[in-house]
């Protein structure tokens, strides 16, 4: 629909959605500041192992690689969901969101299993400054992914109940930004935490 054909009301609605998108971008940039500071904190705390285990002793590259695959593929499937929003294909949107949810849940499962294994080995977050920083950085990302999963459930319900209305589509757009942002944060974690920890 071209701008000329919009009523005053529709124009206001379109402006509102645009403002929400900008606001959400700003929120993501603020979140990026949080991750940046957690990354910096992790980097300076790598030597602070207090005689406890180091990254080399604890990290499993296979697990991290599998997590990476799951999350990156989930970003792709979310992309397909977004494309289906454009074509207005409701069942495809729900289907792709379901796939995204499963991949994301798999990621969270692997992370929880990794954390539980480390804690069982006596390498919990209270063991050393290094481990505090590791659990907090990676865990903050994990909490974000979990929130994203809840958000996927809520929006899937909205798609089912309300259809792909303009407000629901605009919420899906922001969820997409959030989900892709978490991918970028994870790439940072993989390259700064796991790879140098093992190499």
């Amino acid at each position: 629909m071209s701008v000329a054909h919009m009523s005053e009301h529709e124009r206001e609605e379109a402006e509102t959605r645009e403002q929400r998108a900008l606001g959400f971008w700003l929120y993501l940039m603020g979140d990026a500041v949080i991750f940046a500071l957690l990354f910096a904190t992790y980097a300076i705390m790598i030597p602070g192992t207090a005689g406890g285990p180091t990254g080399k002793d604890l990290f499993d590259l296979n697990n991290a690689a599998l997590e990476t695959v799951l999350l990156l593929v989930s970003s792709t499937t979310f992309g397909f969901a977004s494309l289906s929003v454009r074509t207005g294909n409701r069942s495809a949107v729900i289907g792709w969101l379901a796939v995204t949810f499963l991949l994301g849940a798999g990621f969270v499962f692997l992370e929880v299993r990794e954390f539980a294994g480390m804690i069982a080995k006596g390498a919990g977050p209270d063991r050393s400054g290094f481990l505090s920083a590791f659990f907090t950085l990676v865990g903050t990302h994990g909490v974000h992914v979990t929130m994203g999963l809840l958000w996927i459930l809520i929006l899937s319900a909205q798609v089912m109940l309300k259809g792909l209305t303009a407000p629901v589509a605009s919420r899906l757009y922001r969820l997409g930004l959030f989900w892709h942002f978490l991918d970028i944060a994870w790439v940072g974690i993989f390259s700064i935490v796991y790879l140098p920890g093992l190499l």
Partner: protein, 657 residues
């Protein structure tokens, strides 16, 4: 069931602490009784607490700020009294109580006085200045307000249940860690800041989007008012600096609650990282507070000098330069921490550089006044008092920016005098100027000038008496935060400083009197035009108080001072040919519910009442989901309704229209 909370938490350990608790509880009860007596609960709930109107939210922020100003000032005068009498003796405050007082004084004045005051003024005025009907996210705005109030509530409740932090307003570990501070005080401090900090981050985002996306047609960036420009820069800083204090306090909370080792002495902790994280937020925070005050001074000086602001563009560029540079100076707060000489030199140089754009602004204001026809309204007096006093504070700041000099003055009362010399004139005088300037816009009647001037002179003289002696004491080597001391040569200075606090008290009393007298005489000083000071910008083109929709027809802007221009052209009060229906966001209790449960959440974490933490988190979560799934959060004001309100406005205007 109640975690760590037992009857022992009541402050019966000292008569003064119990008295403070009694005053807090008594004050709250008194307000409740008065509200009940006036049968005002329903009105308060439907018209104010659930409101999402930016003007009402702004006013509520300012009410919160003024209440917290009183509390913070009580702390201040108690400290001055203690130090005046504590030579070779204990004074009247036990050490632990004194430590709580200086911690709560700083925390309150920065987070719960200055921040809400600033956010309130921006909320109240900025949307009017850019010619829009509300901020971009009205509901989020209410959430921000109630999260700030929840944080303030936690600080207040610590007076009655348990104790407040003794670790100073900066809460440096390892002293603030669980090992040395096992009580609840630091937890109160952490959760008050975390909760209100989320609100401030969201306010910042809200204002940035509002200013970038909702300006009236024709209002280019370089036609925005100086206040809007400073609000924009401060909001960008809020959005990007507040995450840093969230990280600093969050990690400290993890150390305390989960036994982690971010900032502990042993187990690989690194407490210096805390100082960095804290001040990565802390220095931009100084400019978050001061830039909007600079904006207010710019508006006030132009209006009461009857001249266009001198060098508008240089002021805008100076503001933006300060905003960027503010992220590059944080290390000057801890030159003595042991960074290399080169690192210290870098931050010393950036600190001196940031003084340059600030100096530019001083010339903007001076040259605006030059050959102007100055009206010495109280707002103008705050501005002039600010310029003179602030320059002194700036000079001592440049002195402290030299690392070797800082080594001598670090942690002395010289530093205390320096930052009060920046923040009292730079921030508080600015907000009070804005309060007295825009009060008639918010309420439709003017504040009494006489009491306003009395308040100004008391604050100004009280400030000099209270803080100039601290510069000298700092040079003589007196450390800050001393509960007792044994050098008799210090006492005369401390007595003068205490006298200064008493004079400031007279200033605050004058403000209370001003409010009382002005409300009593409101019929005499009613502002029927909406433009009591021959204003220059769009906020003065509406009625006072403005209607819920601000502008019946969104104005088109062709000048930096659009309302002055319109008055010159004779187009100022022109009636539009017709009115259109206006959509307005509906009130919602969701904001106040979220704030209320954020308070409960914070309280429950402080006392380790874990079931209550879970319950309040779930309630907050459901509230957010329910409200954000609502697609019809607006109602429509019909064209006829708008016309009725506008007709009334034009009747009041009488001959002007």
């Amino acid at each position: 069931m109640f975690g760590k909370l037992t009857i022992e938490a009541l402050p019966l350990y000292s008569a003064i602490a119990a008295g403070g608790a009694a005053v807090t509880v008594g004050g709250a009860l008194l307000v409740a009784i008065v509200l009940t007596w006036l049968k005002a609960w329903k009105y308060l709930w439907t018209d104010w607490l659930t409101s999402v109107d930016h003007k009402r939210i702004g006013i509520m922020y300012i009410v919160l700020a003024l209440i917290m100003l009183l509390r913070g000032f009580v702390d201040a005068i108690m400290m001055r009294a203690q130090q005046a009498m504590a030579l070779n003796a204990g004074g009247y405050l036990p050490p632990e109580h004194f430590d709580q007082i200086f911690s709560s004084h700083g925390t309150i004045m920065i987070f719960f006085m200055a921040m809400p005051f600033m956010t309130g003024l921006i909320n109240l005025i900025m949307p009017l200045q850019i010619g829009t009907r509300d901020v971009a996210f009205p509901w989020l705005n209410a959430v921000s307000l109630w999260l700030s109030a929840a944080g303030a509530g936690l600080v207040m409740v610590s007076l009655v249940i348990g104790k407040f932090s003794t670790a100073g307003w900066t809460g440096y570990p390892p002293y603030s860690g669980i090992e040395y501070n096992p009580g609840v005080g630091v937890d109160y401090w952490i959760w008050a800041i975390l909760i209100s900090g989320v609100g401030s981050t969201m306010s910042g985002i809200n204002f940035v989007v509002t200013i970038l996306k909702r300006r009236a047609p024709g209002m280019t960036l370089m036609r925005m008012t100086p206040f809007t420009w400073t609000a924009l820069c401060a909001s960008v800083l809020m959005a990007f600096a507040f995450p840093a204090i969230t990280v600093a306090c969050g990690l400290l909370a993890l150390d305390r609650l989960a036994g982690m080792h971010f900032f502990t002495n042993a187990h690989g902790g690194n407490m210096m990282n805390y100082a960095n994280l804290f001040w990565i937020w802390g220095h931009p925070e100084v400019y978050i507070l001061i830039l909007p005050a600079f904006g207010i001074f710019s508006e006030v000086v132009a209006t009461f000098s009857r001249k266009r602001l001198f060098g508008y563009e240089s002021l805008v560029y100076a503001t933006a330069a300060i905003a960027i540079l503010s992220f590059t100076v944080w290390l000057h707060h801890f030159f003595t921490m042991g960074s290399s000489a080169n690192v210290n030199a870098f931050f010393g140089v950036t600190t001196m550089i940031i003084a340059v754009p600030t100096g530019v602004k001083v010339f903007n204001w001076l040259l605006t006044m030059y050959r102007g026809r100055i009206d010495f309204h109280p707002s103008m007096m705050w501005s002039i008092g600010f310029i003179v006093t602030f320059v002194i504070g700036g000079m001592t700041g440049v002195l402290l920016a030299i690392p070797p000099a800082d080594f001598l003055m670090h942690n002395t009362t010289f530093l205390v005098a320096h930052f009060h010399n920046m923040i009292i004139p730079g921030v508080l005088f600015g907000y009070l100027a804005g309060y007295m300037f825009w009060f008639p816009k918010a309420f439709g009647f003017e504040l009494n000038r006489g009491w306003g001037l009395a308040s100004f002179w008391c604050w100004l003289i009280g400030f000099y008496l209270a803080f100039m002696p601290l510069y000298l004491l700092g040079l003589k080597g007196m450390p800050r935060r001393m509960e007792t001391y044994n050098d008799p040569t210090w006492q005369p200075y401390l007595m003068v400083a205490a006298l200064g606090a008493v004079v400031v008290l007279c200033g605050i009393a004058s403000m209370v009197m001003q409010l009382y007298v002005s409300i009593r005489d409101r019929k005499l000083t009613a502002d029927r035009t909406g433009d009591p000071f021959d204003g220059r910008t769009l906020e003065w083109s509406t009625s006072s108080p403005p209607p819920p929709y601000n502008f019946a027809v969104i104005p088109t802007v062709g000048d930096r001072e659009p309302f002055l221009e319109a008055k010159k052209n004779g187009t100022a009060y022109r009636r539009p040919a017709s009115y259109a229906p206006i959509r307005i966001p509906s009130n919602t209790p969701a904001g106040v519910i979220l704030g209320g449960f954020a308070f409960v959440l914070g309280f429950a974490i402080v006392w380790h009442i874990w079931w209550l933490v879970i319950v309040s988190a779930i309630v907050m979560f459901i509230t957010v989901i329910a409200r954000s799934s609502d697609d019809n959060a607006e109602f429509t004001l019909s064209a006829g309704e708008v016309k009725r309100m506008e007709d009334e406005r034009f009747r009041e205007l009488g001959g002007r229209a």
